[in-house]
């Protein structure tokens, strides 16, 4: 195909511009990575810090010897694994009947679930509910409220809808009940949507901080993001209020320690990112289908 001069110019501009945008997306992480491996003096040097000129592992040693961080790690991993496993099972059980045409009041039940996507009681009633259920300082306060979400149910239902009814029909003639049809036929056929929901949920749990801030007051049960918030954000905010720019002389958490904490928090997500992006994109397309 022939290209006009204008098209060539546009193509060149497009390649350079998008490359620049991609670098802009990457740079903040690169900067943080570089800081985390820098010596304190190197971190205080003015510059772009694409890579550390003086390497030190001191900040990682400091962060990893902090018992709060380690406890936060354990608590976050626990909520992520437990929450994701339970959400998967519960979402399947919620979506399956909605995908079966012989469930009475199917559209009314679907509306009942979908309505929660556009209207909610808000912060205060939600908080009082958890408090009245006695879930304060319990890991269940972080898992149960988001156990089943309308969004997950809908994308799972859409996937189930595409499974031919005849499969279930023939299994039923062979004497299978609905539970075994769900677990023996539907779930094994639904690996892509299961992976999508699992990864969504895992990332959500890993990143969650607000629920833990509200419902967990005991530091032994606190999650990683909250400790990160204390180490990174609160000290930065305090420094700003006091008009301090150089953290090393004033006893505030140094930039290198902040950076190392951030890197340790994002590391697990980076590790699963290649799997993530494949299934996330699929999830978007499935979620786009109307119910």
């Amino acid at each position: 195909m022939k290209q006009t001069a204008g098209e060539k110019l546009f193509n060149g501009f497009n390649i350079v511009f998008l490359g620049g945008l991609a670098l802009l997306c990457l740079y903040p992480f690169l900067y943080t990575l570089s800081l985390s491996f820098s010596t304190a003096a190197e971190a205080n040097r003015e510059g772009f810090h694409f890579f550390p000129r003086a390497v030190s592992l001191a900040s990682y040693q400091m962060v990893l010897s902090n018992p709060d961080i380690l406890r936060g790690y354990v608590n976050t991993i626990t909520r992520t694994l437990l929450g994701t496993a339970l959400t998967l099972v519960a979402t399947c059980v919620a979506a399956y009947p909605l995908a079966r045409k012989n469930l009475p009041h199917r559209s009314a039940i679907t509306f009942f679930i979908v309505f929660t996507m556009i209207f909610s009681g808000g912060l205060v009633p939600g908080y009082l509910l958890i408090k009245n259920l006695g879930l304060i300082n319990s890991i269940w306060a972080l898992i149960i409220p988001t156990l089943i979400t309308a969004f997950n149910v809908i994308i799972m239902k859409n996937f189930f809808d595409a499974i031919p009814e005849s499969l279930a029909e023939s299994a039923r003639i062979d004497g299978a009940n609905e539970w075994s049809i769900l677990f023996r036929i539907y779930i094994p056929l639904s690996k892509p949507v299961l992976a999508t929901v699992a990864l969504w949920t895992a990332v959500m749990h890993w990143n969650s901080w607000f629920d833990a801030m509200l419902y967990i007051t005991d530091d032994r049960k606190q999650v990683l993001q909250t400790f990160l918030q204390r180490i990174v954000i609160e000290s930065s905010t305090q420094m700003m209020e006091l008009g301090i720019t150089n953290s090393s002389v004033t006893g505030f958490t140094t930039e290198t320690v902040k950076a190392a904490t951030i890197i340790l928090t994002i590391l697990p997500i980076i590790c699963i990112y290649p799997f993530l992006q494949k299934y996330f994109v699929k999830g978007v397309m499935m979620g786009g289908v109307k119910e």
């Binding site: 390649i15 903040p28 609905e178 992006q277």
Partner: protein
């Protein structure tokens, strides 16, 4: 023969169908109960906004207060400012951020080098997978007085800028980093819509002598319009939300006057144990959000004769 097989099939499917329904109900009832408890009870709990709540009496036994909490809310010196901040931030996000993913998707779509395209795309939505605790932590360092952003400005020969403590600059950083975080992810949705366009349309346009620019205006954009309408309706519903996670982690007392939004206000009132006032503010937000999203959807349905709507 035909008759007997027909009746036998009916008999076989009748009995298990009755049993199936019990199984289906065994699955459905707990799920309905779950949504009832964790979504609908909090909705009912909004009555707290009409009560004079005190901790000892609980929601049910506290005395009714009528509209008193709402009168107190809108009569207070800070809430009108909170609404103004929320709307300002939301409208800025909408006007600068709504088209960013569309433009990004169109540009990515024009890339002919497939591997390069995939690399760019993967990097562009990387920020979407991190919490605002992490991202704010990074930006508070990047935009600090001695950070790389100011370093760059000094290289250009200008004076350092108080990105995080100056009102206007803080809002600018807020909007820009918000777009930075979500545009790549938003583009995924549009790229999905783009991949569904029939290539025959482009071939026909090329034969008719349409340039790439004309093809984009007459084929690509109209094909993206339904997705854009849907996302616009959904974002209208969130206009009083303004991005709590980001603001809560990025703001500081020096910029409270421009960055205190409804959600931060509700949280602060709740922490002060002023539960009924907090609930009134929260209810105002939920109800306005519902009205906006239903209104926008109805309007869109009417204007397009039922062709473009979320439901």
């Amino acid at each position: 023969m035909t008759d007997s097989t027909h009746s036998r099939r009916k008999k076989i499917s009748l009995l298990p169908r009755g049993r199936c329904n019990i199984d289906l109900w065994l699955m459905t009832v707990p799920v309905v109960l779950f949504f009832l408890i964790f979504n609908y009870i909090p909705m009912a709990g909004m009555v707290i906004a009409f009560k004079d709540y005190n901790l000892g009496d609980g929601i049910l036994h506290s005395a009714w207060a009528g509209m008193e909490n709402f009168v107190r809310l809108f009569g207070s010196s800070d809430f009108p400012n909170v609404i103004r901040n929320t709307l300002t931030i939301s409208l800025l996000r909408l006007s600068f951020g709504f088209f960013a993913p569309v433009i990004l998707a169109l540009m990515l779509n024009e890339l002919r080098q497939q591997v390069y395209k995939r690399v760019i795309q993967t990097l562009s939505y990387l920020p979407y997978f991190f919490s605002w605790v992490i991202l704010s932590g990074i930006f508070l360092m990047l935009f600090s007085g001695s950070g790389p952003a100011n370093m760059f400005i000094k290289l250009l020969g200008a004076k350092p800028v108080a990105f995080l403590t100056n009102d206007v600059w803080f809002i600018t950083v807020l909007i820009a980093t918000g777009i930075w975080q979500s545009a790549g992810w938003g583009a995924v949705i549009y790229l999905a819509a783009l991949s569904g366009i029939n290539p025959v349309l482009y071939e026909a346009a090329t034969i008719d002598g349409a340039t790439r620019w004309q093809q984009m205006l007459t084929i690509t954009l109209p094909c993206l319009a339904p997705t854009m309408v849907t996302l616009f309706i959904l974002s209208l519903g969130g206009i009083l939300t303004a991005g709590f996670d980001q603001i809560y982690n990025m703001y500081n007392p020096l910029v409270y006057n421009v960055s205190d939004i409804i959600d931060t206000y509700v949280l602060r009132r709740m922490m002060d144990l002023d539960m009924d006032l907090a609930a009134a503010a929260g209810m105002f937000k939920s109800v306005v959000g519902l009205i906006l999203i239903v209104g926008a959807n109805t309007l869109s349905k009417k204007l397009t004769q039922g062709e473009q709507s979320v439901w």
